[in-house]
Each structure stands twice: as structure tokens, then as C-alpha cells.
Symmetry: C2
Subunit: 105 residues, 2 copies
Amino acid sequence: MSLPIGPPAARPCYAVIFTSVRTDGDHGHAEAAARILELARQQPGFLGFESARQEIGISVSYWSSLDAIEAWRAHAEHRAAQERARDWYRSFRVRVCRVEREYGF
Amino acid sequence: MSLPIGPPAARPCYAVIFTSVRTDGDHGHAEAAARILELARQQPGFLGFESARQEIGISVSYWSSLDAIEAWRAHAEHRAAQERARDWYRSFRVRVCRVEREYGF
């Protein structure tokens, strides 16, 4: 991560909140997650990424448009990873959001 | 949390993504955070809460309207906590979002 917290403010900005509970064991998850993040960074419209895990994991990626999110969702290597979701996650939830306003220090 | 991940899908749904880097030491943060979450749960329009922390912390609260979020932001005890932000956080970012779509298992 190049910034301690999230992307620079951009308008419009969309956030994909990925919330998950892991299965036991790694099942190649760590390597795949690193690869998928590396790929995501290369996609048009990618703005940033934040992640933390305790009992649950929360990862948020930021994008410049819904089209960029859709294109990333349909990316072949990303799709192959999505098909492994049940190996890695007991449950997960994806929420695609439009950032309405933003502040902080 | 009554559910492993987030609130039941509700429409409309808004998410407040609070991303932070802590200062060193607790400074009463743990107690205050627990109290603030307890209060949030009592607010009209509160739908759910998810949180995880490693290098950064990500907390997401879910609400039924922007008005509910604004009323919570203006709540006296919540405001008093907000004034302590610089004791607890080296940096933070708040992003108020509208949830456009949602899926998972």
C-alpha cells in the first residue's frame, strides 16, 4: 500500500466492501490474494485498497466507476479466483457502494 | 454481533466506512469504542456493524438513510468521542456510501 489509508479523494469514487469469514487452513489463499491484489492494481479505474482481518476480514477496494468494477469482476483470472470462494470462505458478502462524501485527517 | 457478517440486506442501505491508524497506547479508546458501538446500536436506522484491525482498522456501520447517519454524527455523546479523535488516531478517514448492490453466501 502506497498510502497509510485508502486512495486520494477522487470523484466519483466507488467502494467495494468485501467482508468474509475464512475456512480453516490456507488452501492457497495467501498466494492467490496477493496475486489478485497485484492484478487489481493494474486495472483501469483502480484507486486504492485497504484490508484488515480479525474474526472477520474486511477488504475495501476503490474504483472510479461501476464499469471499472464490472470489468474487474469479469476479468478471467479474477473469475477463476472467485470460483475458489468456497474453499477459502465460510461466508462472504460483497457490497458495491457509491462514495457520497468523505472526510478525515 | 448477531450475524457473522453484516446486516440483512435492506434497501436503501448506506455504509459508513471508518478507516484508521491508531496512536500508541489505549488512552481510554477500548472503553469508549465499546460504549459508542452500544449507543450506535440504539439509534434509529442502525442496521449493523463490522470491524477488524491489523496495521489499519476498518469499521463499517450500516444505516437505513443519510438522515440517520447525520443524526448519529450529531449525537452529543458521539460528538464528545469525535473530539478525542486525535488522542486515538494518527489518521482516519470516513467515507459515507450508498450501497448499490450486494451479494454473497
